[in-house]
């Protein structure tokens, strides 16, 4: 825990109140609806905005105290905004060189390495005005990395990209921790991005810190907004047990009692992989379905059922299922819930239609 924050900012109707200790490794997502203060928080950490009487400390360095304020250029951070903000009077190479000339740490990846990771080697001589949206984002990230920062801050870096470019960028960002051992703060309102990238989550709402912790724990808590998002679901770590070459499947174990089969992946036996099970892909059955095409049927217990106020009843509701130490979410119709007379604590079977592989690196072990 080594990014210590105590920030209190008031601007008109908006106030930001955050006291937190964030990990100095891995990717920490700052998420919340628009206007929740995500960007303000990031700007205070970057030193671009000042919260009076605030405190920011990063791995023992005082960035802001009552008496001291370290300016942005001296904090040794890399910053990627929603817009790429490339310098229009320089070429792609010129933009990268701007960062290289002012690098914070003397050691770090070379221009060639960073260009290879982000696949921009062929763009170097281009004018920045002749790049596509995705290319601009990749150059901006490369430039931030070439600063050799001690902390990387990203503010909705995938905004404005179409779906395929976005998926491509998510893959690139997922790979970053393999190359670089620097902590990343990632601001986003998209649960899709967070579920694929983050290890740790900070939830903000109207400038207030709602919750902060491990993504795996927070993603399935029904009292938090993550479980009510469009693409809500559970993030689970599992260990690869065996491959079935005949059917092209891989078997993974969540714990000693629960195993999952997924399309064959390339990971090694014993390796930890990260999975995502969307709530809408999980259905509940009272008896073990014997004649089902669904491969993954896990015995579990109903932990919590989403409570809905009588005034705003929805068609669907979310149920949290417990598998020993782990949790899944299931989104079912309210009608099914009533018909099966589901109760908290009841033993049921979860039928899982699809399991998505997030990554094979198990960075959140």
């Amino acid at each position: 825990m080594s990014l210590l924050l105590s920030l209190h900012l008031k601007r008109g109707d908006f106030s930001l109140d955050v006291d937190a200790a964030l990990p100095s490794a891995g990717i920490t997502a700052i998420c919340g609806p628009s206007g929740s203060g995500k960007t303000s928080l990031l700007r205070c950490i970057a030193g671009l905005d000042t919260a009076p009487k605030g405190m920011v400390q990063f791995t023992g360095q005082d960035w802001q105290t009552e008496r001291r304020f370290v300016r942005t250029e001296e904090r040794g951070i890399g910053l990627v905004f929603q817009e790429a903000n490339l310098f229009p009077h320089l070429t792609v190479a010129g933009n990268l060189n701007y960062a290289s000339k002012r690098q914070f740490n003397t050691t770090g990846p070379s221009v060639d390495e960073v260009c290879t990771w982000l696949n921009i080697t062929t763009l170097l001589k281009r004018s920045v005005n002749k790049l596509s949206g995705g290319e601009r984002k990749r150059v901006a990230i490369a430039r931030a990395l070439l600063r050799h920062p001690q902390l990387l801050l990203m503010d909705e870096p995938l905004t404005g990209l179409h779906d395929s470019a976005r998926e491509e960028m998510i893959a690139v960002l997922q790979n970053l921790p393999n190359h670089l051992a620097i902590p990343v703060l990632y601001v986003s309102h998209s649960f899709h991005e967070i579920s694929r990238l983050a290890d740790h989550v900070v939830l903000l709402d109207q400038g207030q810190l709602v919750a902060e912790g491990d993504l795996i724990t927070l993603s399935t808590r029904l009292d938090l907004p993550l479980s009510h998002q469009q693409g809500a679901g559970a993030v689970i770590n599992a260990i690869l047990r065996e491959h079935d070459p005949d059917y092209q499947l891989s078997t993974l174990s969540i714990d000693t009692d629960h195993r999952l089969s997924i399309n064959k992946i390339s990971a090694q036996r014993g390796q930890t992989v990260r999975l995502f099970v969307a709530a809408r892909d999980v259905s509940i059955s009272l008896d073990p379905p014997l004649h089902s095409s669904i491969l993954n049927i896990l015995p579990c217990e109903i932990d919590t059922i989403e409570q809905q106020s009588a005034s705003s009843l929805n068609t669907q509701l979310t149920v949290r299922l417990r598998l020993n130490e782990h949790y899944l979410l299931a989104r079912i119709t309210r009608k099914s819930c009533d018909r099966l007379q589901l109760q908290e604590g009841q033993s049921v079977f979860a039928q899982i239609k699809t399991v998505a592989l997030i990554n094979e690196y198990g960075n959140a072990s």
């Binding site: 671009l48 040794g76 229009p88 002012r102």
Partner: protein, 233 residues
């Protein structure tokens, strides 16, 4: 063309160059501050800077004449600082020209600084560039045209000034007799041939300079920043 005519040309170039250099040094931080500040009296400050655009130069000249009179506080301070007198000196011409041409330098610069996308500056800061570094690596190249227009207009406008010089400079060849005054004097003494050379030369110079200004990014008129400032508020 007499020796005094060449002296007038040399003096005019010297005055305009010095004035432009001083104006860029003063005008840049002033324009930056005006572009970024939100203080309430900003419109009043902008109006004061723009005054020379609308006032007859003789008005400014009149007040400067009073300020530069040997018994005034300004002149006394100048004497204490430099040991010389201000009245009818070249230094007085430089001070007057700086005041008179201020809006022609400040407005194009302020315009450029206001249009500068501030996230670019934030990005540069995050990449390790301090304020001075940001100015030279980002602001100067991005506002290059504004600097070019500001220096050209500041220079040309100083060359073209008449009323202020007439009021405070007098007409001492080699010391305060600039081109516009020399021309006036030649006409008064009916030396029309020399007057033609000086007048024609000034027209050619101004035409070349203004064509250059228009060539650089199609800058529209001498006071577009006045209009656009009004429109953005």
């Amino acid at each position: 063309m007499s020796h005094n005519d060449w002296l007038a040309i040399g003096l005019t170039i010297k005055l305009a160059t010095l004035t432009t250099v001083i104006l860029l040094a003063i005008g840049t931080p002033l324009a930056w501050w005006l572009a970024k500040t939100h203080i309430r009296i900003k419109p009043i400050l902008e109006a004061i800077i723009a005054l020379p655009l609308v006032l007859p130069p003789t008005v400014l000249g009149f007040y400067l004449l009073i300020a530069f009179a040997p018994d005034s506080a300004v002149a006394q301070f100048w004497q204490w600082l430099t040991g010389g007198t201000l009245a009818f000196s070249f230094s007085a011409l430089v001070i007057a020209s700086v005041l008179y041409s201020l809006p022609f330098v400040v407005q194009p610069l302020q315009n450029g600084f206001q249009q500068l996308h501030s996230p670019l500056l934030d990005t540069a800061a995050s990449l390790g560039a301090g304020p001075i570094d940001r100015f030279f690596s980002l602001v100067l190249p991005l506002c290059r045209n504004n600097f070019l227009v500001a220096s050209t207009l500041g220079f040309a406008h100083t060359v073209g000034e008449f009323g202020v010089v007439l009021m405070i400079g007098g007409n001492i060849p080699g010391r305060t007799q600039v081109l516009s005054i020399a021309l006036y004097e030649r006409v008064e003494s009916l030396q029309y041939e020399t007057a033609h050379w000086l007048a024609g030369g000034l027209i050619t110079f101004s035409l070349v300079v203004l064509s250059l200004v228009y060539l650089v990014n199609g800058y529209r008129g001498i006071t577009p920043s006045l209009k656009s400032n009004g429109a953005t508020k």
